[in-house]
């Protein structure tokens, strides 16, 4: 299974410290020869290492604005979390207009796709619950989906089997652009303005289809200064041009933070978990069938949900409070002008056609006999290591080093304590040898003394 990754290491900035290896939820990073290295088959693009690296050696490889030049007509997709980057007096329409002015021919809200998703997912969910499948799990965060494929393959068929809102909006934006311009698909560029690298990975290597409707993924942080500058210079006619366009309703805008998706699924019995390490704890519970009283689990890799994405700019607490403002405004709009809201109920979407494959990167060996042997060996080695989990060997903890040794990717002397032990042993042997040598020399001297005496 080879997938593209958007999280990458800049070797020249890496100093080989242990900050990232300790934080990676899948133990995908090792420091070798003084530099970090990410194991592709284990990385789920969560971006935790980007946050953890004090030297900024980990970064997201995203698309740049120059990519827009390849297309005759471009559309920007605004993630719900994009709004939260901008505080009052900005309004949603202002942010959208400013985003358009940053170089796009048109803009489209991912919050629209979110509302469409929710309608279909809600019907599907209640049907699945009736059939006894419980709890169902959100599939909107690509990190969580990849985590499930690798660590919780039993839960693959608990995922809501629908393309994420980004794909739904991209499809609609593309159709709209085709109708408006008459251009062929290749000349229409659809760009998602993303809070995270994982979404770019999901575009380059889609989770459950062969092709994404999105052409490029630009970081929120990249678009931020451009939008900000244009917000200040926005002209009233540019804002007014949005007056006769449909906007997403409040439930779509609410997807920007943790809990937003769950609230739109018509069940009280939901659980919203955020932060990848918390997600792991909850999925563990689900797999062990200890959360059977829950209908739906919304799981977001980032703390706070997408407003806490690694490529966002605003602090996630102020972001959340701003997002609430946008939600309230959307609610007001729906009340005063119901016709202004995008008719999400009219759009059809289909469940995934392809069953997701498990990722077997964590298996010790394909052959059960060998795997048992390796496990036994691993246990022995772990017991023999100091158990300090210091990370100086380049592995996140002693057990991980033991695993690397068993896999033939490291040796025991990577452990500085083991190395010290070995050195002490060698030193002792050396001094023993030295003593022996001295004894020989003394013997020789005595012999030659005796010889000298004999000569005298």
């Amino acid at each position: 299974m080879s997938i593209h990754h958007s999280v990458q290491l800049n070797r020249s900035l890496c100093v080989g410290c242990t900050n990232c290896i300790k934080r990676c939820p899948t133990e995908a990073i090792r420091v070798r020869n003084g530099k970090a290295k990410i194991a592709d088959e284990r990385c789920i693009d969560c971006g935790e290492c980007i946050r953890a690296c004090p030297h900024h050696a980990k970064s997201a490889v995203m698309d740049e604005f120059s990519a827009l030049d390849q297309y005759a007509y471009t559309v920007a997709l605004a993630a719900p979390s994009l709004y939260a980057q901008f505080g009052t007096p900005a309004t949603r329409v202002m942010v959208l207009a400013a985003l358009g002015n940053a170089g796009f021919d048109d803009v489209f809200e991912v919050a629209v796709g979110a509302e469409i998703f929710s309608r279909h997912a809600s019907i599907w969910l209640h049907d699945a619950l009736k059939k006894g499948k419980r709890p169902l799990i959100s599939s909107a965060c690509p990190v969580v989906v990849r985590l499930i494929q690798m660590k919780y393959p039993n839960l693959i068929d608990h995922l809501l089997p629908f393309d994420a809102p980004m794909e739904i909006s991209a499809r609609l934006a593309r159709e709209q652009a085709r109708e408006k311009t008459g251009l062929p698909d290749e000349q229409i560029g659809v760009f998602f303005i993303s809070p995270c690298p994982a979404k770019r990975t999901a575009v380059v290597s889609p989770i459950s289809s062969d092709n994404s409707y999105v052409d490029g993924v630009i970081a929120v942080s990249e678009a931020y200064p451009l939008i900000l500058a244009r917000l200040e210079k926005l002209e009233s006619h540019q804002v007014a041009s949005f007056a006769n366009r449909h906007l997403a309703g409040s439930s779509g805008v609410r997807w920007g933070y943790s809990g937003g998706e769950a609230l739109s699924l018509d069940t009280e019995r939901y659980l919203a978990v955020d932060g990848i390490h918390n997600v792991i704890a909850i999925l563990e519970e689900v797999e062990n069938e200890r959360l059977k009283d829950i209908d739906f689990i919304e799981a977001n890799s980032c703390t706070g949900g997408c407003i806490g994405g690694p490529l966002t700019v605003a602090n996630r607490f102020s972001g959340k409070s701003r997002q609430r403002g946008y939600i309230m405004a959307a609610r007001d709009l729906a009340r005063k002008h119901p016709g202004a809201i995008y008719p999400a109920g009219q759009v059809q979407i289909d469940p995934w056609k392809k069953e997701l494959e498990p990722n077997e990167a964590l298996k010790l060996d394909k052959d059960i006999f060998k795997a048992l042997q390796k496990y036994e060996q691993m246990e022995k080695i772990t017991a023999d290591l100091p158990g300090l989990d210091c990370g100086a060997c380049g592995a996140p903890d002693c057990e991980a080093l033991a695993e690397d040794i068993v896999r033939g990717e490291a040796s025991e002397t990577f452990c500085i304590f083991k190395l010290k032990e070995r050195l002490r042993l060698v030193a002792a042997q050396m001094s023993e040898l030295e003593q022996e040598m001295n004894r020989h020399l003394e013997d020789d001297e005595e012999e030659s003394d005796e010889a000298g005496e004999a000569v005298q």
Binding site: P153, N154, E287, N288, K363, L364, Y375, E379
Partner: protein
């Protein structure tokens, strides 16, 4: 002559009334089984069955000991305690039957589904129990 097969043995102490670390033995076993690369559904069955037995030893018997042996085609999980024993095994096996203390129930344990759940997930389950001496539950899970 048969070649000796390599097996992996794990053992854990289960502390009585330790609700905070409840399920540690089964969660460590689960980790080992999935590392070894067993079929995910097998891992899950083993983990769930073992968890229930482990919790019973913790709640009803003042703790005990868990021994796991992993063979190439099956795993044997044995949970032994020196608790009060089970006077009527047939009754205990009934769904919903429970003598769990209030504290356990308050913490969400003690729905009387443990033993039936083990039976549901295991390929074979044996209970040896002597009142006043203790209980040993042996669970077999086959890999194919």
């Amino acid at each position: 002559m048969r070649m000796a097969v390599q097996t992996v043995k794990l053992s854990f102490q289960i502390r009585g009334s330790d609700f905070v670390n409840a399920g540690e033995a089964s969660s460590n076993t689960k980790k080992a089984l999935s590392r070894i690369g067993l079929n995910p559904s097998v891992v899950k069955r083993a983990a769930i069955a073992m968890y229930e037995a482990e919790l019973n030893a913790m709640i009803h018997a003042g703790g005990g000991q868990a021994d796991v042996e992993i063979f190439p085609d099956h795993v044997v999980i044995q949970i032994a305690d020196r608790g009060p024993g089970i006077p009527d095994v047939d009754l205990a096996m009934q769904a919903g039957w429970s003598t769990a203390p209030d504290i356990a129930r308050e913490m969400g344990f003690g729905a009387g589904m443990g033993l039936p759940n083990i039976k549901k997930h295991a390929d074979d389950m044996r209970i040896e129990t002597i009142v006043g001496q203790g209980t040993t539950i042996t669970i077999h899970i086959l890999f194919a």
